[in-house]
Amino acid sequence: MRFIIKSFYFVFQSTLIMSDQDYLKDISEIKNLMNKSSRFISLSGLSGILAGIYALIGAAVAYWLVSKYSYGKLLLDGKVFNLVLLDLFLIAFLSVVTGIFLTTRKAKKNGEDFWDASSRRLIFNFLIPLVTGGIYILIILNQHKYGQTGALMLIFYGLALVNASKYSIGDIRYLGFIQITLGLICALYPGYGFWLWTLGFGVMHIVYGTWMHFKYDVK
């Protein structure tokens, strides 16, 4: 049977017979090209861990500021509030810089371009929910409705991750679902907002980053 197939194929192709190995190679190359052309694969797990650590440190600083200078209550127009905002901004800034740095490094190692069609698509789709959420949070902060801030940050960040996951391999989709769930719980119990935020942005990033690091980076 194998002989018949091969000889038919020989006639059909009128060239050399390809071996099974060649077909396998073809198939794996097809898969590889499909991934490479549509998904950005160099997200670094380590940057997730570091982002989580920044968030934990930032949360500790905010906790210390509020308990020491504000008697456990966060006043909207106070100096402490501005410091907490600065703290948040620093966490976000450091996380993004670290993420870009480590991901560029990993992309270089993989022979991938950091700024190609697949990464542009990933970043663009990640930013749509994130920027929407950011602007929305600023608007309601301006209206002095600050009870849901933690919940909204978690929810929009989760949506951004789920939206971006279509353009990357790795499992940021699940991290996204976890953040959304935490955000909704946080909306129900605003009193635990601080702890849920710390759990979502701090602990979950570290857990996820470690998992990614060992699943994809260390081979």
Partner: protein, 97 residues
């Protein structure tokens, strides 16, 4: 012998398989993107895209971005169907042997 029947000679080249794979998962891709991803030369890639175009498996769209000409490709529904047939034939062939 339907398996052999489904092996499509038009796809029987690494570059052509590559072009089709990329276009299956992307709405479209331009010439330079294909060139980079496949590591092919201009002439090589052009001859293969022409072959696929002639078989009406891919569609070509020429336009200008600013002053630069830009050629982008997408799969036709015929091309998609044929490529799927080809891949499943390849897979069956591997399993049989």
């Amino acid at each position: 012998m339907s398996i052999i029947h489904n092996i499509n000679k038009v796809f029987d080249h690494r570059i052509r398989l590559g072009i089709m794979s990329i276009l299956m998962v992307n709405e479209y891709a331009d010439f330079n993107t294909l060139k980079e991803l496949l590591g092919a030369t201009d002439g090589n890639l052009a001859s293969h895209t022409k072959a696929l175009e002639k078989a009406e498996y891919i569609a070509v769209e020429k336009q200008f971005i600013g002053r630069k000409p830009n050629t982008r490709y997408s799969t036709t529904s015929l091309g998609k169907a044929e490529f799927k047939k080809h891949i499943s034939a390849l897979e069956k062939l591997i399993k049989k042997q």
